[in-house]
């Protein structure tokens, strides 16, 4: 077996969808002599995870993609009949209001969450001391972090990126043909979170995964996160996040700042 084929089977044995031989050749390091096989496989794997899946040269066609009509909201439920590699284009935390996320991002931008300079925010409303019995929040330690607030409850302890056990995220997933579908966390998946899941990160949707009303329902048994990221997309996403959130709620920049 020649080297690209060996790399290919190496990747496959690690659970990755096998890229085309032609692409592997382009992804191999330009060094002479070449490093040993395990190092080569690792290098090509890293490049694969950083590649754009919708690049037609990446796979031999036909490669596994979403079934036709997958996005049809009329279809109550179908199951995927084959494994599909996808990449993450967007991630949203549906458990938090956009405004709450905006306030947190702005606080960070003002440098107010840097430790030592924290402005500790109270939750809104009149907190009752009925919580005190539960968490021993005492008189002088009341702050936003310890009290569940309403809007902008992200006290210093919870960063914007923090996802709790009950957070629900929705992803935009793209297959190798460039088709996009929503992916909704049916069960909490630890890796999925703003800041922990990257844009361009690769995921394998397993055979049997549920597609309901055009949305993929994600849980740990039907969804394997391979890792990776597309640096440029990630950067744009992070930099544009505040503006996108603001636009979504129809807010102007405060006093033109």
């Amino acid at each position: 077996m020649d080297l690209p084929a060996q790399i290919r089977s190496g990747l496959q044995s690690q659970g990755l969808p096998p890229p085309s031989i032609a692409w592997i050749q382009t992804a191999m390091p330009n060094r002479n002599p070449l490093p040993p096989l395990p190092a080569l496989i690792a290098t090509v794997k890293t490049r694969f995870l950083a590649a754009d899946l919708s690049n037609p040269a990446l796979f031999d066609s036909p490669s596994p993609a979403f079934p036709p009509n997958a996005g049809n909201p009329e279809v109550k439920e179908v199951k995927l009949t084959w494994d599909i590699p996808v990449q993450v284009l967007d991630i949203e935390n549906l458990s938090k209001s956009k405004w709450e996320q905006i306030e947190e991002l702005e606080a960070i931008a003002r440098g107010e969450q840097t430790r030592g300079r924290e402005v500790i925010r109270l939750p809104t409303g009149n907190e009752e001391d009925e919580f005190a019995a539960d968490n021993q929040t005492t008189q002088s330690t009341i702050n936003g972090a310890e009290r569940p607030g309403i809007q902008g409850r992200g006290g210093p302890a919870t960063s914007t990126n923090a996802a709790t056990k009950t957070s629900t995220h929705r992803l935009v997933l793209q297959d190798c043909k460039g088709q996009k579908l929503y992916g909704l966390e049916l069960k909490r998946i630890e890796r999925i979170g703003i800041g922990s899941l990257n844009i361009g990160e690769k995921i394998i949707l397993k055979r049997g995964a549920i597609l309901a009303r055009g949305t993929l329902l994600l849980d740990t048994t039907t969804c394997t996160i391979l890792g990776g990221k597309i640096e440029a997309w990630q950067k744009d996403w992070v930099e544009g996040r505040l503006a996108r959130l603001r636009e979504a709620v129809g807010a102007d920049s405060r006093n033109g700042q």
Binding site: P73, K76, E92, L94, S95, K96, S97, K98, W99, E103, R117, V119, I120, R121, L122, P123, T124, G125, N126, E128, D129, E130, F131, A132, A133, D134, N135, Q136, T138, Q139, S140, T141, I142, N143, P148, G149, I150, Q151, G152, R153, T164, T166, T168, R170, Y182, L184, L186, K187, A212, R213, T215, L217, V249, G250, A251, R254, N255, Q257
Partner: protein, 660 residues
């Protein structure tokens, strides 16, 4: 041996003289009409022994820090010269008679005993008294009495265990006074003269700056914008109800709510498809609502603003009066744990004669007494605020009655037992979705019987469920709601923010809050009915949000919302006041914030640092000289930046005050 004793205020002098003399006392008037000199004999024990005592007092601080006359004009020299101008400490104009009395009495004395309040400010006043006395007599043996209430045995004990003045605390206060003077004057003059040129209301306006006032105002402005800029967003949820044994059991969704309708529709549909729900967990366990911690100053102020229809400042003044009359312990304390040596049962016993809570106190005396919870704070100076003797309602005015009653009820609650109940938790899985029901039955009210400010409502009894059983819910609904803006700050919120951010001391917070109102930087308005509605909406979110996020321990349960609503009416909270900045207040904070230098004067950071430095002086980790040097540098730096970016401040003033 002749001893001169000096208290911080006349009422303490009178009370202490009464206790030490046993009633045999001669009273002399002094040139200052509020101050009397009490002369009597007293045995201090060793080393002073039997003495002839003159007990008198001052009226707070005797001295004031001020700039020399050549710095009195506003237009010259420029304000920043005040950062290094000489500062003279002189006897304040209205205190010369007070100082003269001390000086004169000191001439006849061999020793001086300081009876000022035992806190930083009191320590400094003690030193002022020393200085005044030394003018009359340089050979005095000087001691200090340590006490935290004016109950007889406590005072006698203090007189027999005299200590020395703590010069570290004196220096901390001296630093604070000097910094406040320099910084306050420099920025006040800078603001006033610089903004005068804007004309209109600024023409004759005194724009006072204080390093606590501004961050306090900053909190109010910050919340104001959070309310104003708020954008409501719709959210959706799934509610499951099951009727059993005549009880409507409400199950709340583990996801609480999602901000996307199609996603909720998908999940909701899958619940309905499943038809039946399965019980996955049933747990019944005892639960408690903990009794409150011993009372600190900050907590007293917060509770008074919430439940007693008083401002923080009114509460402090009233508590001060009660302390001066000997009814309660010193009301300025950070301590939330009682020293094990203090005889709490005896204090409880004294409350048995009350018509209102005597029965409860009697029950404690008869065996119900429990040691209070121990908080984490101890200022090593004063115990938590507690009643010293019983005060019959007839000797108290309306405000005093409210504060006294609160202090006593809080104290009795502390000496009582946690409220007890049984909590039931039922988890179900419906489709793939998880739901939870929580019930609580209160079994013993205990401390809640006397502590009327706390409620444990929302008692919900759950019918029987068995793990593994399947049932078809009576009702499963998809619901819709909308986020509501936060409230404007209440005084309790503001005090909590100041406390958490190190703005002011527990003793001065209320004054700063009053100050920004006096300066017309903020106004208080009654919370409107509109925001009461919002309160409800938020209440439900807060309750459920908190449940989802953390393990249940006490039995707050589903009743959170209703309990809160009821609490509001029961406790007179409908009259709650909110803080809203004036246009001027907004302009000043926005102006400084937009200058965009590292530490805006509208933020708490600089002041917090200063407070920490005061503390460091008290603990001997730094010195007055170092602190003065550093802090003046910092503020001078800010001053220069503010000067350079004055245009930004002016623009903010034009925008908000003139609407340009």
């Amino acid at each position: 041996m002749r001893v001169l004793c000096v208290a911080e205020k006349p009422s303490i002098a009178k009370a202490v003289a009464g206790h030490l003399s046993g009633g045999e006392v001669q009273t002399h008037n002094t040139p200052e009409k509020y101050i009397k000199n009490y002369v009597f004999d007293y045995d201090f024990g060793r080393p002073w022994g039997k003495c002839q005592v003159t007990m008198t007092s001052v009226l707070g601080h005797i001295t004031a820090a001020e700039f020399p006359p050549e710095y009195k004009k506003w237009d010259y020299p420029p304000p920043d010269r005040l950062f290094d101008a000489p500062v003279n400490v002189v006897v304040a104009a209205d205190k010369t008679k007070v100082a003269d009395n001390i000086e004169k009495q000191a001439r006849f004395a061999n020793a001086l005993c300081i009876w000022t309040d035992c806190d930083r400010e009191g320590e400094h006043i003690g030193n002022e008294i020393c200085e005044a006395a030394k003018k009359g007599n340089r050979t005095l043996d000087i001691r200090r009495a340590r006490f935290s209430n004016i109950e007889r045995a406590h005072i006698i004990n203090a007189s027999r265990n005299l200590v020395n003045l703590d010069y570290k605390q004196v220096n901390a206060v001296a630093s604070r006074i000097e910094l406040d003077l320099r910084i306050g004057y420099a920025f006040t003059r800078f603001l006033t003269t610089s903004l005068k040129t804007l004309g209109g209301p600024f023409q004759d306006l005194l724009l006072s700056y204080g390093s606590c006032q501004f961050p306090t105002l900053g909190f109010v402005v910050d919340r104001y914008f959070r309310v104003r800029n708020f954008k409501p967003e719709p959210f959706w949820s799934i509610k499951v109800m099951h009727k059993r044994e005549g009880i409507d059991v409400n199950f709340s969704w583990a996801r609480h709510r999602l901000f996307d309708r199609p996603s909720v529709i998908i999940l909701y549909e899958r619940c309905l498809m499943a038809k039946k729900a399965k019980v996955t967990k049933v747990q019944e366990k005892p639960t408690k609502k903990w009794k409150p911690l011993p009372l600190t100053t900050v907590e007293l102020q917060k509770m008074a603003t919430r439940f007693l229809r008083m401002t923080g400042q009114q509460a402090m003044e009233t508590a001060e009066g009660l302390y001066n009359k000997g009814f309660i312990s010193y009301p300025r304390t950070e301590t939330d744990r009682f020293d094990p040596g203090i005889n709490l049962r005896l204090l409880v016993q004294k409350q048995t004669q009350s018509h209102a809570w005597g029965g409860f106190a009697q029950n404690l005396v008869d065996g119900g007494f429990q040691q209070p919870r121990q908080g984490r704070n101890d200022d090593k100076a004063h115990p938590p605020i507690h009643p010293i003797t019983f005060a019959s309602p007839s000797v108290l005015n309306d405000q005093e009655k409210k504060i006294y009653e609160f202090v006593v009820r809080r104290f009795l609650a502390c000496c009582s037992e946690d409220a007890k109940g049984v909590a039931t938790d039922v988890d179900i899985v419906y489709g793939e979705e998880l739901f939870h029901a929580h019930g609580v039955v209160v079994l013993e009210l205990n401390y809640l019987e006397v502590y009327v400010y706390d409620k444990w409502t929302g008692s919900v009894q759950l019918p029987k469920f068995t793990v593994g059983e399947m049932f078809e819910p009576t009702e499963a609904l998809m619901t819709e709601g909308k986020t509501a803006p936060p409230h404007y700050l209440t005084e309790a919120d503001l005090i909590a923010l100041m406390d958490a951010n190190g703005i002011g001391t527990d003793a001065t917070m209320a004054e700063h809050i009053q100050k920004i109102q006096d300066r017309d930087y903020v106004r208080t308005v009654p919370r409107s009915s509109r925001s009461e509605d919002a309160d409800d909406a938020e209440g439900s979110q807060a309750t459920e949000g908190s449940r989802a996020g953390r393990p249940t321990r006490g039995g707050r349960g589903r009743g959170g919302r209703t309990g809160r609503g009821r609490g509001a009416t029961n406790n007179g909270r409908e009259g709650i006041m909110e803080f809203i900045p004036t246009q001027l207040g907004v302009a000043l904070i926005e102006g400084f914030d937009k200058m965009d230098f590292e530490t805006s004067l509208g933020k708490p950071f600089l002041r917090k640092e200063m407070e920490l430095k005061m503390k460091a002086i008290c603990e001997g980790r730094t010195t007055k000289e170092v602190v003065l040097d550093e802090s003046i540098q910092q503020y001078r730096h800010v001053y220069i930046q503010s000067q350079q970016k004055l245009g930004v401040l002016k623009a903010a003033c034009r925008q908000y005050v003139f609407g340009a």
